[in-house]
């Protein structure tokens, strides 16, 4: 590997200060939670960091605290902890299942919530070092090339798909994203946190250059909330989603009061299916309703030359995720 300097941050403030100092010294830096993805990118040269700011030594943001109105999940909670956390039972299934679906146990044991949500795309052009939008360049190689794994919603001028499993779950749960940086702390809604390529093709989220995503605030799910995360992958594990669906339903008696339905693997940001959510309100979940929701989900899909298969997959995934909850 290239020469590196590791800095063990003792706090988020420490980490941000180290980031600012590195930038001032003309050095590239990267924040590291679990570090597995970061090290890959450093070894491959698609991340040019000279300074690694290690967050494993940060004491903050490692807890899950549930109150009646709000749940706080620290950004440095590992995916293993999330997948099995005692406080995240019952209605939190979508988040547990999403966390459990990432990578492998070895990855989940060190990977963090923050790292998973902010990971860079896995597009094979970007990761193979092509000088594309995501690498600071000015073109997308997938749009007229090999785009089997690319976006069917929201694409343009970059057609990457958002690589995080936690992100659709958090969006479906109406999370607020907490960020800290040189200018202090701020909170972003999901709409503001995730960035479409049409807004800025070089990044996937609204974090400033030396800002850190430190955790989420989620309105604690009411009684009657059921949820699930359905992920379809090219082999049964250790793979990013071809298509995934995060569903959160607030059910009253047998009727759906509110619905959150968010797709992963199909758009540059977690893709909220607003029309499907509106359609579901007031319905009783049945096979027919699930089927209609699936059809509605793909009404505005815009496949590229080689990823048309994602369209029927998305429809089937939405339908089956809903049916899972109907049977529960």
């Amino acid at each position: 590997m290239k020469a590196l300097t590791n800095i063990n941050a003792r706090s988020f403030a420490d980490a941000v200060a180290a980031a600012s100092a590195a930038t001032a010294a003309g050095q590239a830096f990267a924040f590291s939670g679990g570090g597995t993805d970061l090290l890959q990118q450093v070894k491959d040269g698609t991340n040019t960091a000279d300074v690694i700011i290690n967050l494993r030594t940060v004491r903050e943001a490692r807890a899950v605290s549930v109150s009646t109105t709000e749940t706080l999940i620290g950004g440095l909670v590992t995916l293993t902890e999330l997948a099995g956390h005692a406080a995240l039972s019952g209605p939190w299934a979508v988040l547990r299942e999403a966390a459990a679906s990432v990578g492998t146990p070895q990855i989940r044991n060190v990977a963090t919530l923050a790292g998973n949500v902010t990971q860079r795309p896995w597009c094979w052009y970007y990761r193979n070092g092509f000088p594309c939008f995501k690498a600071g360049g000015n073109q997308c190689f997938s749009v007229h090339g090999e785009n089997q794994q690319h976006a069917i919603f929201g694409g343009g001028p970059s057609y990457i798909v958002h690589p995080s499993d936690l992100a659709p779950a958090l969006v479906a749960l109406h999370a607020t994203f907490e960020v800290t940086g040189p200018g202090g702390q701020r909170r972003l809604s999901t709409d503001d946190f995730f960035v479409l390529p049409s807004q800025n093709p070089a990044r996937e989220n609204a974090l400033g250059a030396t800002e850190l995503f430190t955790g989420v605030r989620i309105p604690t799910p009411a009684a009657g909330v059921v949820s699930t995360y359905l992920k379809i992958t090219d082999r049964e594990a250790w793979t990013h989603a071809e298509v995934s669906v995060a569903v959160v339903l607030h059910v009253d008696g047998d009727r759906i009061r509110t619905a959150g339905v968010v797709l992963g693997g199909v758009a540059p940001i977690p893709w909220r299916l607003t029309e499907v959510e509106q359609f579901l309100c007031g319905t009783v979940l049945s096979a027919a309703v699930a089927g209609q929701a699936g059809a509605l989900a793909i009404a505005n899909a815009q496949p590229l030359a080689k990823n048309g298969h994602k369209v029927p997959m998305t429809s089937a995934a939405v339908e089956r995720a809903l049916l899972r909850l109907a049977l529960a």
């Binding site: 020469a3 193979n128 090339g145 090999e146 379809i232 298969h309 089937a316």
Partner: protein, 718 residues
């Protein structure tokens, strides 16, 4: 004449590997585990372009980096790699290597694929070596490139070699390889119906878990090379030839190897680069490939295009089989590029024209049963399709048309009927197979498929030495490296059985050309038969000596060696197999899941039931990976490989693999060591065909392209 067999004293009993303790404690030393004093580390710079002429290399800044001891490239190290490209793809033949027209060197100019080696660095530290690579300045003139074999044969295709893109045969003639039996025109004339279909199969990397590496060390004019090799004797001879040395000046050592799966039974350019750097620096040099280096710098199974035309009479008799085939060999032809399968059928009229073609993709080379799984997939998908169209059960169709012994061509024994019958029974073929393909209602559909084969179990030359000392401990010297099938243990068991002593009284010495005699090398499923025969004969010789002179006393040893070269007069010797697969296809998601897999094999007498069973199971799972997932996708616009590595190629994990049920039918045909045949490659041959046929039975859709990924399934279903 074959007889049902019973286990012998040692042979036929489950036996733990003799080196198992070393493997489970981390004590087993693989090449990269070795450290020599003063050892330097090496890295290879590789072409970022699919086809380019190197105009200039400036290594001055790299050479000045503190810690760098040598930088070599095509202008400073012009070393031929005889095994890297051979006329006709014919390995193990010095004469052909010397007359090969299109020579491959350790560094070539022009470079002909992304990943082609350009330069190499040796430094005191691997990180310094990597940093030095980044400082080497190379000026390229880009050349046009071509990625697909049919496109490479077009009149206006970019030339990868001056003579054109068709690979030459062993005589340096540029013509397709034709095999023509009977009268193909008459065969089609005699047919009631003629069917045509095109199939294509992807590139499948060997992907052994140990990344390529090599450690070279000169002492005067003697070279010691530690390298992961399936054949230390062949590797040694290749090194000597390429470096202008005598065999006795080269020692090759490999005690443990992390998988090979083919075409590592010779030297590699990594070995020559390392030896050259070691010579330049006068120090031991350890070259370590990254996983990407291995993917692009080693090899995998050739991608193919197969155009079939088959004639049948209405009662289901095949009258003519024609294959026009293309194999994408990459820019250098390491191996034959064969497409097997036609010879499984009795049909007397068979015509195959095979064009191995150069392309600007990574090199193709042997991978477990090199010519078989893709060809068997093609021909048996074709026949399965025809059987269905004629309203025949594919088993019935096969029994009618498969090759059987004849008076003109007898076999040492024949078990294909028995294999198929046992499979039908164990799998419950009649219950699981859908009489009408695709007839399950609902989106989740099940179906069953089957495939059959025979595969050579030929005899041939190899060597063994066996010694006994005064304590009646026997030492067996065999030139194997035990890449996974358990050759040390198998050879030890054969020796123990022949000697009439327990295995614990036998030590096996292997993996070092200074200590072991010639071995054919662990490829082509030959070690058990050929080296095993040598062991048997060496033991017979030793027993004669003991009878004549008595056991040795004091410090004396008795030594016997044998280098038999047995043949079978006029008879075919084959192993046999039939696989039965049930698959469940989710037709809304395109996912295929195997719900039952039964593999029936007749491989003569089974020496070690446990390692033999796991050779089949492992090979089957590799074949499932080939059928459903593995490929190497290139970006057509840039010629860049996009899916190198285990993540991108979606290699099967623990949760992906089904349980594989294996049944051996054991016979002793009177040949080979105790009647043993081959096992190592057999299991992979049938898996893609059986899985593809099962998917057809489940969905009613014929999948004509491997791998059968979900986008292809969803594509045909819409």
């Amino acid at each position: 004449m074959s007889e049902a067999v019973q286990p012998l004293t040692t042979i036929g009993h489950v036996t733990p590997r003799v080196d198992a303790i070393a493997r489970v404690t981390g004590q087993a030393q693989y090449t990269n585990d070795i450290k020599l004093p003063g050892m330097l580390y090496a890295r290879v710079l590789r072409s970022p372009h699919p086809h380019a002429r190197i105009l200039r290399i400036d290594a001055s800044e790299a050479s000045r980096l503190p810690g760098v001891r040598a930088v070599i490239s095509h202008d400073t190290a012009h070393v031929v790699w005889g095994a890297g490209a051979v006329a006709g793809g014919r390995q193990y033949n010095d004469a052909i290597k010397k007359t090969t027209l299109q020579r491959r060197y350790i560094f070539n100019n022009p470079v002909r694929c992304v990943g082609d080696a350009v330069a190499a660095v040796a430094a005191t530290d691997r990180h310094i070596a990597e940093q030095a690579l980044a400082l080497i300045k190379v000026e390229y003139e880009l050349l046009p490139f071509v990625l697909e074999p049919e496109a490479a044969l077009a009149a206006d295709a970019p030339l990868i070699w001056p003579e054109g893109n068709l690979c030459p045969d062993v005589h340096n003639n540029f013509a397709p390889v034709v095999s023509d039996h009977g009268d193909i025109a008459a065969g089609f004339a005699a047919a009631d119906q003629v069917f045509e279909q095109r199939y294509d199969t992807g590139f499948v990397h060997n992907a052994q878990l140990e990344r390529r590496c090599a450690l070279a060390h000169w002492q005067g004019d003697t070279l010691t090379l530690y390298t992961p090799s399936q054949g230390i004797a062949n590797c040694r001879h290749d090194m000597a030839r390429d470096l202008g040395l005598e065999d006795r000046q080269v020692r090759v050592v490999c005690n443990y190897m992390g998988g090979g799966f083919g075409n590592k039974n010779q030297n590699q350019d990594a070995d020559l680069i390392t030896a050259t750097l070691a010579r330049h620096t006068n120090a031991p040099v350890m070259l370590e490939y990254s996983r990407r280096d291995d993917w692009l710098g080693m090899h995998g199974r050739w991608p193919t295009v197969q155009q079939y035309k088959v004639g049948v009479t209405n009662d289901g008799t095949v009258t003519a089989i024609q294959l026009i085939g293309y194999s994408g060999m990459g820019p250098y032809r390491k191996n034959a590029g064969g497409i097997g399968g036609l010879e499984l059928y009795a049909c007397p009229n068979r015509y195959r024209a095979l064009s191995p073609v150069y392309t600007n993709r990574t090199t193709s080379g042997n991978f477990r049963a090199p010519s078989e799984p893709h060809g068997v997939y093609g021909i048996e998908s074709m026949m399965d399709d025809i059987a269905c169209k004629l309203g025949m059960d594919p088993v019935e169709f096969t029994l009618k048309n498969m090759l059987r012994p004849t008076e003109e061509q007898p076999f040492t024994n024949y078990s294909l009927d028995a294999c198929i019958q046992l499979g039908v029974e164990k799998f419950d073929w009649q219950a699981r197979r859908k009489a009408i393909p695709g007839s399950d209602t609902g989106p989740i559909k099940r179906g069953a498929g089957f495939s059959f084969m025979m595969f050579r179990a030929a005899l041939g030359m190899s060597s063994a030495i066996v010694q006994v000392d005064a304590r009646q401990r026997y030492t067996l010297f065999v030139g194997v490296t035990d890449v996974g099938p358990g050759a040390k243990t198998t050879m030890g068991m054969i020796a123990a059985e022949a000697l009439g002593v327990p295995l614990s009284q036998v030590d096996v010495v292997s993996g070092d050309t200074d200590r072991c005699p010639y071995s054919v090398g662990e490829s082509g499923s030959r070690t058990t038969i050929m080296t095993g025969m040598a062991v048997v004969e060496a033991v017979q010789d030793l027993q004669q000596q003991i009878a004549a002179h008595g056991m040795p006393t004091g410090d004396d040893v008795l030594t016997a060696s044998a280098t038999p070269s047995p043949t079978i007069e006029g008879k075919m010797r084959q192993c046999f197999g039939a696989h039965f697969v049930e698959v469940e296809v989710d037709t809304r998601l395109g996912t295929s899941r195997i719900t039952k897999y039964v593999a029936i094999h007749e491989s003569g007498r089974i020496i070690n039931p446990q390692t033999a069973r796991d050779q089949i199971r492992g090979a089957v799972i590799q074949g499932i990976g080939q059928a459903l997932h593995e490929d190497l996708l290139y970006d057509p616009a840039s010629g860049q490989p996009l899916t190198t590595g285990y993540y991108r190629a979606r290699h099967l994990t623990h949760v992906d693999v089904p349980h594989i049920e294996v049944h051996f039918i054991e016979v002793d045909d009177g040949y080979g060591p105790f009647g043993a045949k081959t096992v190592g490659e057999s299991g992979i041959i049938l898996a893609p065909a059986a899985v593809a046929n099962a998917i057809f039975n489940a969905t009613g859709k014929r999948m004509t392209s491997l791998p059968i990924t979900r986008d292809k399934i969803l594509g045909v279903l819409r």
